[in-house]
């Protein structure tokens, strides 16, 4: 079987804003003026010698097979989100190559593009279109989405009047009804009150068991062991460990 996602040596370097160099003597007004005028354009000039870059990802390679649910774990700032953003084509890698053999939908956030002034109904269509659904697809799933979110009565009210729970439920409901071959998820799960959380997790179970390929970034180790067969532990931009989920989680807990 061939992989559906092939990641080969991905690196991503970010440039940190260069610190204002504390000058030894006071600069003349003319010098400051020149600096101010130039500053938007002369960013990289005082780069000599000092390293003002950071590698958010360094030489990351892995394959994901079709139908596999892969967890990605690691401490804050390890590079997980950067990896997801590269795979979702939001940011470009500095080097390396990714091959995707299917349509990818990524949920880096719930309710992307929701507009407070528009009604629930309008936002479902708008959000669906932004996430890559066809209009017919949304038409077909509309009732299901609204029922899942439990906002039937308020669907024609502007979402700025929604309670935050209703808002999140509707946003999650749209994303939960996406139908891509590969789904990339960043901690957007389980929103709302206890009963809705249960429903969300149930939906996640359905998704991960339906044979869809899923990449799941989470801080909830329980969730990773529950849903994923394999997992990747990232730290400092590098793959620290890759293998069966329980093993990788155990390793992470011992770190």
């Amino acid at each position: 079987m061939r992989p559906i996602i092939k990641v080969e040596g991905i690196s991503k370097r970010f440039r940190i804003q260069p610190r204002e160099a504390p000058s030894v003597r006071y600069p003349t007004l003319r010098e400051s003026l020149v600096r101010v005028v130039r500053s938007p354009f002369a960013r990289q000039r005082n780069n000599g010698g000092r390293d003002d870059t950071v590698w958010a990802l360094k030489d990351v390679s892995f394959d994901v097979m079709p139908g596999e649910v892969m967890g990605i774990i690691g401490p804050n700032g390890a590079g997980k989100s950067t990896l997801l953003k590269v795979l979702s084509r939001i940011i470009e890698p500095t080097s390396g190559r990714v091959e995707l053999y299917g349509r990818v939908a990524s949920l880096l956030e719930v309710g992307t593009g929701f507009h407070p002034d528009l009604s629930g109904r309008e936002n479902v269509y708008l959000n669906g279109a932004i996430l890559g659904m066809k209009r017919r697809e949304i038409d077909a799933k509309f009732d299901e989405i609204v029922a899942f979110a439990e906002v039937e009565r308020f669907i024609d009210a502007a979402v700025k009047h929604y309670s935050s729970g209703m808002y999140l439920r509707l946003a999650f409901a749209v994303t939960a009804h996406l139908d891509p071959e590969v789904l990339i998820i960043d901690e957007v799960l389980a929103v709302g009150d206890a009963s809705f959380q249960k429903k969300c997790l149930g939906k996640m179970d359905d998704v991960t068991r339906s044979g869809r390929t899923v990449l799941l970034v989470s801080h909830s180790l329980a969730m990773v062991t529950q849903h994923c067969r394999r997992a990747i532990l990232i730290d400092g931009g590098r793959i620290h460990r890759m293998g069966p989920a329980e093993e990788v989680v155990a390793h992470y807990e011992a770190m």
Binding site: I90, E92, E99, Y101, G102, L126, A158, G211, E246
Partner: protein, 304 residues
């Protein structure tokens, strides 16, 4: 912690269950030979992927529809604003430039003379302005979802077409009132609007990309638009400009469009050469802007 612990101990059976069910239940997916998408670092030449753009025409439609809906939400007068702005401008200009300054209009009543040009100009300048600010205004989308970014400024420009349509009702009224006959030259109106849209797209797309990196655009653009307004023949005819300077006037692509628009409405000789220049300018500008946009697009999520 205890909750987590009990949960983790419960996991193995569930995990086995899910992994046992994974292979090809509902969706056995045949992995294609060639990748659907390849992501690589810094390709210097990025072709304009028209197929990608075509694939997201529905998104373009939804974003235009959102811009239009949101614009008139919580307004009492709603879409009437699309008429009020050029109407009031027309009344003021008619008084000052038509009545007091007595600008020549080649025999056309000043109100309809200036309103025709204002109609196109309002669409053009609003298109450029909202296009240029569209990426910044949608930064939440750019940092969270992928789709061809060109859709955003295009939708912002396209959303102005509805305002144009609403405001043209008044133009029809003025033409009827002053007794201008309907002629075959009216067939040129639609191509002229298409041309104006192309030009607004070209300029708007280019400024939108620049605006992501250099926020100076936000301050420079209103000024530029104002200057552009006065060097275009909106409140005066291009024939007012002395003969030896008229070539400079025609360098402005808006001149050809506005003069051609008036020519088709008021039954005058058509400025074909100027129009051809405007058309060429519009196409080259759009091509260049799209290319520049594609080159800068890859850094949007990091810069915005």
């Amino acid at each position: 912690m205890s909750l987590l612990a009990t949960k983790t101990t419960k996991q193995p059976p569930l995990a086995e269950q899910s992994s046992a069910q994974t292979p090809s239940r509902d969706l056995s997916y045949d992995v294609p030979e060639k990748p659907v998408v390849t992501i690589e670092a810094g390709k210097s030449w990025v072709p304009l992927n028209l197929r990608d753009l075509w694939a997201c025409r529905e998104l373009l439609y939804f974003l235009m529809w959102r811009d239009i809906k949101v614009r008139y939400k919580q307004t009492v007068l709603g879409a009437a604003w699309a008429v009020i702005q050029p109407l009031v401008t027309m009344i003021i200009f008619t008084y000052f430039f038509g009545k007091l300054a007595k600008l020549p209009t080649e025999g056309v009543p000043y109100p309809v003379f200036v309103y025709a040009a204002l109609l196109l100009w309002t669409f053009f300048s609003n298109g450029v302005n909202s296009g240029a600010n569209s990426l910044i205004g949608n930064s939440n989308l750019i940092t969270k979802v992928y789709f061809p970014r060109l859709v955003i400024p295009s939708a912002a420009v396209g959303a102005g077409l509805l305002d144009l349509a609403i405001a043209s009702v008044l133009l029809v009224g003025l033409l009827l009132y002053y007794g201008f006959p309907v002629t075959w030259a009216y067939l040129m109106i639609l191509p002229l609007i298409v041309l104006t849209t192309l030009l607004a797209l070209g300029v708007g797309i280019w400024f939108s990309a620049l605006n992501v990196k250099y926020r100076d655009v936000r301050y420079a653009l209103p000024f530029l638009i104002q200057v552009w307004f006065f060097v275009s023949p909106i409140i005066y005819p291009s024939s007012l400009v002395p003969e030896e300077w008229r070539w400079a006037m025609w360098l402005n692509p808006v001149t050809g469009i506005v003069e051609a628009f008036r020519a088709s409405l008021f039954g005058r000789p058509f400025p074909w050469a100027a129009l051809a220049y405007s058309g060429g300018f519009g196409l080259v500008m759009l091509a260049y802007a799209s290319y520049a946009f594609r080159r800068m697009e890859r850094n949007f999520a990091e810069l915005i």
